[in-house]
Point group: C2
Chain length 240, copies 2
DNA sequence: AGAGTAGAGATTGTTCAACAATCCTGCAAG
DNA sequence: CTTGCAGGATTGTTGAACAATCTCTACTCT
């Protein structure tokens, strides 16, 4: 390995490796258990209101009670579980006020990210929008296959990647939480198709505006997009 | 207690009591330990970079290792500690990029809250600004007594209460985290006076604008306020 | 019959002791 | 100066035990 090569590329490579390493030595037991539970919750196997028995789960997940409780704590702070003292952990039951709260934050964060792109457009490396494109196409493909849960997932990832453009670790973390909670809300909806379908095309529209660097219009569109999405969720909620 | 009294006051009272009860049956051990550690960290007794030994702390805090680890998890998700697998927990060392990241979020959230006040001004109950006034006065009093750490605390509370005006549980939680991390940054600053002093008057100015319902101007002021504050922190950082 | 209550059983909160897995230190060898 | 290898220290995880609290049933009293 020669010493005088370009520093920027080397730095980028170092970060990639560091990220890989960090992914490898995941604190295993507790986080592995949390991963499994997280999927069960976001995919709806554990519906809102369900209680998670410690004894039962120690057997299923094959971890000790202490480790399981650490997994609970992890998920608690992601908003996917709530603790009730001396009564156990439950999958939270979100209501319409949570919808309003979540969408308010989504609007603030996402719209700001898109607006902020205008200022730092020059320094934005090429190919930065690729993850967004992949998500759009994944959603379209899933829709054709009538897999509406997968459509919802792809749409979520689209927004997560959108926030990712801001290069803010804290925004990423917050968005992860917000979207996880949103998933919780989706499970009370009977017909996921009409909930997700309209936003496949709108995501593509948004992506194309970003690609064309029309950031201000993209921000305006996104704002209305999120208002509509919120309204749709509220309607579905009241009709349940 | 008569039955026909005004409902709004009663609702408010019920919430107060509920909050008190919730505070009482705090999951005790783990959260109590976390409280102590939190104060030690935010007050600087545990400086950034310090490692927290499990054995040592079990003796000091008089809790078991398992409970202590749960306290660690709590603080980890507040951003006040970081886990390094098989190496222990550490007080994080934030750098200039974190300053930029934190302030970006502060600007987005706080400015949006103030802007949002314009729309819901009518439904805003009287006395809602009182906590802000208290914080302003506390800061002024602490400054007169040359207690600059207390000034910093009061200024922090001012912003926390400002966010509180939005009635968003998630914004409150996020702000709590952001401000806690900010406190971490303050400890690398040698002279807290020049860092906090300018913002006593600016907080009062902001409060008066809010009281006068000049929300748009308040938002603009706050935006610049936070830009200046960020710059001050960055300068102090580079001069360390 | 219905309301209130006491107690049994189940679940969570917390502790302790032990062992496995990993990291850090210092030292020797190349 | 780097590499490889003990040995000691620290963390990760487990299982069992006991205390504290909740829930539900059955009973008593009016």
């Amino acid at each position: 390995m020669s010493t005088g090569e370009d520093d920027e590329g080397r730095q980028a490579w170092l970060r990639t490796v560091a990220a890989d390493v960090a992914r490898l030595d995941r604190s295993s037991s507790a986080e592995r258990a949390a991963d499994i539970l997280r999927r069960s919750i976001t995919e709806g196997a554990l519906p809102p209101g369900a209680q998670l028995s410690e004894i039962e789960l120690t057997e299923v997940l094959e971890v000790s009670r202490n480790t399981l409780r650490e997994a609970f704590r992890l998920l608690t702070h992601e908003g996917l579980l709530v603790y009730k003292l001396h009564r156990g952990v439950f999958v939270p039951e979100l209501d319409e006020r949570d919808v309003v709260d979540l969408y308010r934050l989504r609007r603030v964060l996402e719209v700001d990210v898109v607006r902020g792109l205008a200022e730092r457009d020059p320094e934005l490396p090429a190919g930065r929008l690729e993850p967004l494109q992949d998500d759009v196409e994944a959603a379209e493909a899933a829709a054709l296959a009538d897999r509406w849960a997968a459509v919802g997932t792809a749409n979520m990832r689209f927004h997560q990647h959108l926030i990712g453009l801001a290069d803010s670790a804290r925004m990423d973390a917050m968005t992860g939480r917000l979207l996880a909670e949103l998933r919780l809300l989706f499970h009370v909806i009977a017909t996921p198709q009409e909930l997700h379908e309209p936003y496949i095309a709108r995501n593509r529209g948004l992506f194309e505006l970003l690609e064309a660097r029309k950031y201000e219009q993209a921000a305006a569109d996104l704002h209305q997009y999120l208002l509509d999405s919120e309204q749709g969720l509220l309607d579905a909620f009241r009709a349940r």
